[in-house]
Subunit: 307 residues, 3 copies
C-alpha cells in the first residue's frame, strides 16, 4: 500500500512498490484516457523554493492529466519565507490546503523536515542537489520501457561521476537488480566515489570497469547515461579545457555504439550531447522526459490512493 506514504529518498520504496508505480505508469501510457479523471477533486501543492521549470511543469502536467488541480509557487521570493516564516509552518499550513505536496528546495534535508510537519504525502522534487527520487523513477521507467528489463544490462555512465547525484541514485537503484554491469566513464578528477563502489557495487558482486575514454566505454553498452562535465569542478581550468571535448557525445562517437543502445540524459543538457545526435533512434532523452511525466502521474495517483 503506497497510499499516504512520502517519497523523500530514491530508496524509500521496496522493489515491489517501485514495480507497482512503474507498472501503473506503463498502463497510463497505454491508456491515458482511462486515468484522466482518477484524481478529480484532488489538489497538488507544488512548492518550488528554487526555479526548476522542467520538474515543476512535469509535476503540474502530471496532476492535470489525472484530472486534479495545482496550487503553488515557482520561486522562494514570492513565498512567505520573505516574511520570515519557517519551512515547518509553511508546510503545516499548506498541508491543510492540499492533498499532496511536491517540494523543491536548495537546502539538503528539507524534504525530510517537511515530512514531519505534513498531514499529506510529501514528494521530494529535489533538495540540495540535482538528485531527486522522481528523476530516478523516470530513469527506471525509461530503462523498463526501452530495454525491457532491469537485469542483464551493460550500463555506461559518462561525465561527472563524482558529484553527479543522478548517476549515484541510478547506480544505487540498478544495484538492486541482477546481472548488470557498469562502465564508469569519467576524467580522473571526477571518478565515482569509493564508498559507492564499495557499498553498492563490490558488496553486491557487481562487475564494473573504469575508463577515461567515452569511445572505449560506449562500445559494449546497452545504456549510455550522459551527464555534464563542469569546468568549475577542476582545480586547473586548463585541464578541463584539454579534455572536455572527450566527454561530448556526437554522431561520430555514436557510430561506435551498439545498434540498440539507448542514450539517456536527465536534461537540461548544454553541449554534452551534440544536436546531431537528436535524430538518431538511439537518442532517448526526450522520451525520457516524457516518461517523467507519466511516472509522476503514477506516483501521485498511488500516494493519493486514487488508483
Amino acid at each position: 500500500m503506497l497510499k499516504g506514504k512520502h517519497l523523500i529518498g530514491p530508496r524509500d520504496f521496496t522493489l515491489e512498490e517501485l514495480d507497482e508505480i512503474l507498472n501503473l505508469a506503463h498502463l497510463i501510457i497505454e491508456n491515458p484516457k482511462e486515468y484522466s479523471k482518477v484524481c478529480e477533486g484532488k489538489l497538488l501543492a507544488a512548492l518550488f523554493y528554487e526555479p526548476s521549470t522542467r520538474t515543476r511543469l512535469s509535476f503540474e502536467a502530471a496532476m492535470h492529466r489525472l484530472g486534479g488541480s495545482v496550487i503553488g509557487f515557482s520561486e522562494a521570493n514570492s513565498s512567505s519565507t520573505a516574511k520570515g516564516e519557517t519551512l515547518e509552518d509553511t508546510i503545516e499550513v499548506v498541508s491543510n490546503y492540499s492533498d499532496i505536496i511536491a517540494i523543491r528546495h536548495p537546502e539538503s534535508g528539507t524534504a525530510e523536515r517537511a515530512k514531519k510537519h505534513s498531514s499529506v504525502p510529501i514528494i521530494n522534487a529535489g533538495d540540495g542537489s540535482n538528485e531527486h527520487p522522481t528523476q530516478t523513477l523516470t530513469d527506471l521507467l525509461t530503462i523498463k520501457l526501452l530495454k525491457g528489463s532491469f537485469n542483464n544490462n551493460v550500463i555506461a555512465l559518462c561525465g561527472d561521476l563524482k558529484f553527479g547525484r543522478t548517476v549515484h541514485s541510478l547506480i544505487k537503484a540498478m544495484s538492486r537488480y541482477e546481472n548488470n554491469k557498469f562502465i564508469l566513464i569519467s576524467p580522473n578528477e571526477l571518478k565515482l566515489p569509493d564508498y559507492i563502489k564499495k557499498e553498492f557495487l563490490i558488496e553486491n558482486n557487481i562487475e564494473f570497469i573504469e575508463t577515461t575514454s567515452l569511445e572505449e566505454g560506449l562500445k559494449h553498452a546497452d545504456i549510455l547515461y550522459m551527464t555534464r562535465v563542469q569546468g568549475e569542478r577542476f582545480e586547473k581550468y586548463e585541464e578541463y579545457l584539454s579534455l572536455r571535448d572527450s566527454y561530448i557525445l556526437n554522431r561520430e562517437k555514436l557510430n561506435l555504439a551498439k545498434e540498440d543502445m539507448i542514450v539517456m540524459h536527465p536534461l537540461p543538457r548544454v553541449n554534452e550531447i551534440q544536436t546531431d545526435v537528436d535524430d538518431d533512434p538511439r537518442a532517448s532523452y526526450f522520451r525520457q522526459a516524457k516518461y517523467g511525466m507519466y511516472v509522476r502521474m503514477a506516483l501521485i495517483a498511488k500516494l493519493l490512493g486514487c488508483v
Copy 2:
C-alpha cells in the same frame, strides 16, 4: 442575497450575511464532496500586486475545491503595470475574462477603486496593511467552530494593538455581538488607539481592561489572539529589547491559561509563539489557517451565486 456583491471592508456585510457565509463554511467542512463542483466553469482572477503566498494559496485552493479555475499573478512586476497601465484599466479587462476577482495591493483604497471598474465581484485580499476582510471571516469562523458562540467570550488581544489591523478588525467585528469582554495586552507604546476604544468599545458598553502583562492578561481569557511586536515600532530599540520576551507565548505562560482557551494567530508567526506551544490542544492557529480556506470557499460560492 450575497450574489454579485463585493467584499471590500470587514464590515461590508450585515450580521445576517456573515451568518450565511459562516454557516455555509461549516456545511462545506462537514461535507466537502457535496460542494466540490458547485463552481465548475467559473474563473477566479487572483491579482496579487504584492506577494502573499498563504493568502493567495488559500484563495486558489478554495476555488479549486469548488471545482473552479484560477488565473492571475503573484507579483506586480509580471503585471501590466510595468507597461504603465492603470489599475482601473487592468480591472476593466480582467473582469471581462473572469467571474470573480481577489485583489491584493500595497496601497490603501485599491480594492475600493477596483470595485468601481469591475463587472464582477471584487474581494479585497489586503490593501495597504495586513488587514483584509477574509482574515476577519477566518477569525470569526474559528471562534464559531471552536468556541461555539460569538457572545459571552473573554477575548485577550496581545502584541501590537496600535498598528495591528487584524486586531482592529476583530474588535470591530466582535463588538457587534453580545456580552463579550476584551483584555488588551500590549506595551504602552503599542496600546489600542483611543478612537477604537471609544467608537467600538465604550459606545457599545463593552467591558475592557488594559494591561502590559501577558501572564496577567491570559488568565481569564477564552480566546487569546497573538500578534507580533516589531522592533521598528519603538522609538528606542533598547526599550523593545527589554520587553520583547514578555510578549512571547511559550508553554510556561500557557500553563496559566484556562483549559479550554484557544490561541489564535493570523500567521505568519516569527517567534511570538514558541513552537513548544504547537502540540498543546489549545494551539488553534493551524486550524485557523485551514478554516481560512473553507470560509473563502463559502465566500466565493456565495458571491458567485453558485450555492
Copy 3:
C-alpha cells in the same frame, strides 16, 4: 482543417480558415456553456519568456473556459534558460507534456524556431515586437461583431504607424477584403512605411489618404484604431512635446466623429485615449479585450480539433 496547425504569423491562415475561427468565436460568445467542456483533459503550456499579463491571462482564461488546464511560466528567469537550456530543447520537452503551446518571447523568429521542434500546435503570442497574430484575430473579431462586415469600411489608424506592428498587421489583414479605405493619421516622423503602402494598399488598389491631423482624420471614419506615440521615437524630444497632445483622443475630438464609429486600441493605453472617452458608446477597446479571450478560445479549440 485547422487541427494540428501552428499559428506563427498573422497571415498563416486562409480567409476561409479565418472565417472558421471568427465564426466559432461568435458562436461561443452566444452560447459559452455549450463550449465549456470541449477541451476537457487538454493541456495548454503558456511559455512567457517576457511578462505580458493581459495576453497571458487571456490565453489562460480561454483554455479554462473550454474546460482545459494550463501549465507554464510568466517570466524567463523562472525557466530552464537560466540553466543554459536552448529554446529548442525546452520545446521538445514541453511539447511532450502538453497538447498545445502559446509562446511569447522578446526575440523575433522564436515562434518559427519553436514550431520546428514541437509535436503539438504552437501559437505565437508575440515575438520581438508587440505584434502577434492573436491580436489581429482579436481586431478582426471586433470589427466583425461591431461593424458587421470586413468590407466597405473607412478605417482610420492613428499614432505610430511607422513602428506599430499591430497596425501593420491590421492593414495587411484588412487589405484582403473589399472596398475598404484607409486614413493614415500620424506625425511625419511616424508615417506608414512605403513598402506597406506599396505592397498592400497600392497594389491592391486600396484608397488611402495621409494626414497629420486626428481631428481631420476621424471625421469620416467607421473605425478609429488608436496607438501610442512614444517620445523615444523622435530625434528631437521637443518635437514630440510640441505635437503629442494632437494624438490624444478626448471627448471633444470624439464629438467630431460619426455616431456609429468604433474606437479600438490594442491596450494597454497610457494616455492616448483620455478616460473621459470610456463612457462613450463608441469606445470599444474593453469589449475588444473581451473578444480577445473568445477568439483565443475558438483558436485553441480549432487547433486542438476539439470542435
